[in-house]
Symmetry: C2
Subunit: 130 residues, 2 copies
DNA sequence: GTTTACCTTTACGTTAACGTCAACTTTATT
DNA sequence: AATAAAGTTGACGTTAACGTAAAGGTAAAC
């Protein structure tokens, strides 16, 4: 049986994701994480680990920590009134459209790189036919 | 007939791409652009404009200026020896694989956002059926 | 001929995202 | 009991990517 209430120490998470403990505490400072405590010591639940994953994914896509915190906050409509829900929807759709833009950028850059690779390969061929 | 040797002033480019002239000069400082000069004044050729586009595309994907400069430098195998070509090929492939990672990240984040949107829409429905 | 509109260089200021000590406590180990 | 291993909270340092002002040159328009 998989344990659902597993916990992690800060250095365990740091090792797993190849970041420093300093960075993890920094994310907490910025309001992205809220681990429990046993005395002074931070104790991370699976949910915290998931948030960390989201943060790092955000970083790979060039998001700032503020943006990642926003996105993490989009997960629970919770008890909001209509206005808040509409605002949330707007933010979600804006994000999605930006992702579409990034998708397009990646496609084009990928094609460019492929051409560059081909040119480099041709140049290599040229060297060998001398 | 389209003019091939059209030129642009710095403020024209700034306006077109919605950035500041300061930023454009900064990119030059960092070695990403090399515009011509008429006296003191910078004169940008279509090639410079293209490089600017590449820089901004890089930024949208979270690249640093150093990384974008590298990528721009990948366009011409030019006259290089085999070692240089192999190094170039390695860098190109590394970039491509990072783009694949980003592609995957985008797909997953897109799905997550879609779920969030659906939950928000459901929450809206709930409000209306009261 | 002087205002207006761009252009230039130089230089200090700012923000994000940590890195890097320092000084100290708690826990585990020998 | 003493040492080592991990944890904590400051607090100052660093880098990237510009922003922002200062001080001035040039050229067309009024």
């Amino acid at each position: 049986m998989e344990q659902k209430n597993k916990t992690y120490s800060i250095s365990e998470l740091a090792k797993e994701f190849d970041i420093t403990t300093r960075a993890i505490r920094f994310y907490e400072d910025k309001g992205l994480l809220n681990p429990g405590r046993r005395g002074q010591t931070r104790i991370y639940a699976p949910a915290d680990r998931t948030k960390l994953k989201l943060i790092l994914r955000g970083k790979r896509l060039g998001l700032t920590l503020d943006e990642s915190r926003d996105i993490i906050g989009m997960y629970n409509p919770g008890q909001s009134n209509e206005d808040q829900l509409q605002t949330l929807l707007a933010k979600i759709r804006e994000r999605k459209s930006y992702l579409q833009q990034q998708l397009h950028d990646i496609e084009v850059m990928m094609l460019d790189l492929q051409e560059s690779e081909n040119r480099a390969l041709e140049a290599l061929e040229q060297l060998k036919t001398d």
